[in-house]
Amino acid sequence: MLVDSSEFLEEIAATLVGLHLVAAAMNGIAAWRGLRAGGGARLRAGAWLAFAALFTLFAIWAGQHTPPGLPDTIKTAIDAALGPVTLFFGSLAALTVLYLGREFFVRPWVGWCLGNAAMLFFNLSLADPHFAQTVLKPDNVPIVAMIFLLGYFLWLGTAQAVENDRRLRQGQGPREKDFAEKTLVWPDLVYIELICMVALSAVLIVWALVVRAPLEQPANPSLTPNPSKAPWYFVGLQEMLVFFDPAMAGVVLPTLIILGLALIPFLDFKTEGSGYYSIAGRRFGYLVFMFGFLQLWILLILVGTFFRGPNWSFFGLYEPRDPHRMPLFQNVNLAELFWTSLLGRAVPRPMADGGLARFTAILWREIAGIAVLLVYFLGIPLVLGRTLMRRYLANMGKARFTAMVLLLMMMLALPIKMILRWTCHLSYVVNMPEYSIYF
């Protein structure tokens, strides 16, 4: 598929024409709505019409097997800039900008500009065979859909939160209160449900007709594919394996994610702010949840699916998946950093056997890591409860506060470990292979 580019362009043509036409149609609808609204929207409608024309033109080109794509210089630049570090901090910076500038970004025309930019980037990138190969894998199609859906719904939710926050500042109730009047479920709700079911069935049937379910070679336990990937919704956990051992990434952290989610209503237990979109009154909880969901869950899934190739090496969006690329293994444990780099001594080696004495010797070897963990999980929470988060401790009580701070520290352990890996090549803070304990 990748060798012959004319063959690739022929294969991708129908997909590209479809996507460009969808983008054109969406801009057409936006323009039509703008024209009907009048005022400033009428001016912007002109821009949407231009976009519609542009996408139509692209669709025609794609139909003639000469789809417009990103120039090679830009693709190379993007790939050179991309890496686990830039992705993590780039996404963090982008989310921060979106959050701080939310009053601006929730304006419909700004949101629509972002949407157009995303569609333009995606459609142009799809003319690249390597990008297309990764993104159009049948099981990856839902992830692409998820990115767009998530973008839209985040915009929709934030727009309502911004409006409600403004109304609350002005002493009005949230907008949801304007609709407090009751209405009968038949017909007002059952018909929405019916239309929704019909529309969704149609989407599913079309999706099923267009994209075939993947079926690879028959299962062969003696032939390990490289890379072997977990199903996409668990790829985030697999990506965590880069930073944690399987016990943490595969068992402890998932358990804590589930536990932490279930505990949310018992940690954020005030009744105010229930039942309407809002950010202002609940910044802390909002930011923690969004950071966990978008940055530590969704982003890791995207990295694991779209950027990890053979040997779990990192690949750019437009790069061929070279099976010989190996990740660099130059990681060191904290014990080595502490004893060798800091103190200039050899790492103590515990005797092969000898019960308690051996145990003590292992603890001694890992003394720096144990101290770090004690400070991290005990010291910092204690200090926080007395200083920065004193108000939380007073409001929540000891049990809730302890649970919240420990969950927070656990959650932050992941980005902290990422940063330590990228800066000091740190592998494990505490490394006791004797007891299968790695942290």
Binding site: P142, M146, G157, Q160, A161, E176, K177, F179, A180, E181, K182, T183, L184, V185, W186, P187, D188, L189, V190, I192, M197, L204, I205, W207, A208, V211, A213, P214, L215, Q217, A219, N220, P221, L223, T224, S228, K229, A230, P231, W232, F234, D245, P246, A247, G250, V251, L261, A262, I264, P265, K270, T271, G273, S274, G275, Y276, Y277, S278, F293, Y435
Partner: protein, 257 residues
């Protein structure tokens, strides 16, 4: 009298629907109260609760997708045999031989879509603060349903028995090896010994319980099949019933106080 009226006047129609067509207020109330499926709804709700802007409809869509998965899943079970000998061949037959050969596609894409809609539903409930009292417990049920959705999807992933499925499940189940105390490569496993004999070995740990063997094979296929088609759907159905019940009992769909 029009034909439609005649049908609605007939004994047969009246025996099924116990009241006239829902065209006036009284009968629009009755239709909800007297119909098993519709009675999941309240008779009347606040207008904001039917605004798609507010609900995103994601909870309803997730429930509908569960229904789609159940129907297509039952149809697939007519064709599929969960054995190493037949599983893959039945996939080929489903693709190439069976009429309306998109059953597996609808089932698979519906499953992926359900994972996404469940996440979006969770996001909406979080953004609107709808987990707050008195709805705390229903949020917890929701978290369990989220986990069940992922497990349903994961157990189904093995069934095609191709390279994609066994290696994805191998990657996933290998994590269980490292479970603290319960996995034979996990921390604390050494503590569970009697007179120097390990209790937790590769033949007795939690991964073995999941797979029924030391690696993904015939036994795992059977276990995942039973989990996927019987155990997990039953559990999910039960919890969905609790979830919907609690939505009503906790004061209906959330809204500003």
């Amino acid at each position: 009298m029009s034909f439609g009226d005649k049908v609605r006047q007939s004994q047969l129609w009246k025996s099924i629907f116990r009241h006239p067509a829902p065209v006036d207020r009284r009968n629009r109330v009755l239709v909800i109260l007297s119909n098993l499926i519709l009675h999941l709804h309240p008779v009347a709700i606040q207008k904001h609760a039917v605004r798609l802007h507010y609900t995103w409809c994601m909870g309803g869509i997730s429930a509908f997708l569960f229904l789609v998965e159940t129907i297509t899943g039952v149809l697939l079970m007519f064709y599929y045999r969960p054995t190493v000998q037949w599983a893959y061949n039945d996939m080929l037959a489903l693709r190439d031989v069976v009429s309306l050969g998109v059953l597996r596609e609808i089932h698979r894409w519906g499953a992926h879509a359900m994972v996404i809609t469940v996440w979006l539903h969770m996001l909406r409930v979080f953004l609107t603060g709808s987990y707050k009292p008195p709805r705390e417990f229903n949020w917890v049920i929701g978290v369990v349903l989220l986990v069940l959705t992922l497990l349903l999807s994961f157990t189904g992933y093995l069934l095609p028995w191709d390279q994609l499925s066994i290696w994805a499940v191998t990657v996933g189940s290998n994590m269980a090896k490292a479970a603290p105390m319960l996995g034979h490569e996990g921390p604390g496993q050494q503590l569970l010994t009697i007179d120097g004999v390990d209790l937790i070995t590769s033949g007795s740990d939690v991964r073995y319980a999941l797979l029924g063997a030391r690696s993904v094979g015939e036994e795992a296929l059977n276990r995942f099949y039973v989990l996927h088609c019987i155990a997990l759907p039953l559990l999910a159905t039960f919890l969905m019933a609790v979830h919907f019940w609690r939505v009503r009992k906790d004061g209906g769909i959330s809204g500003p106080l």
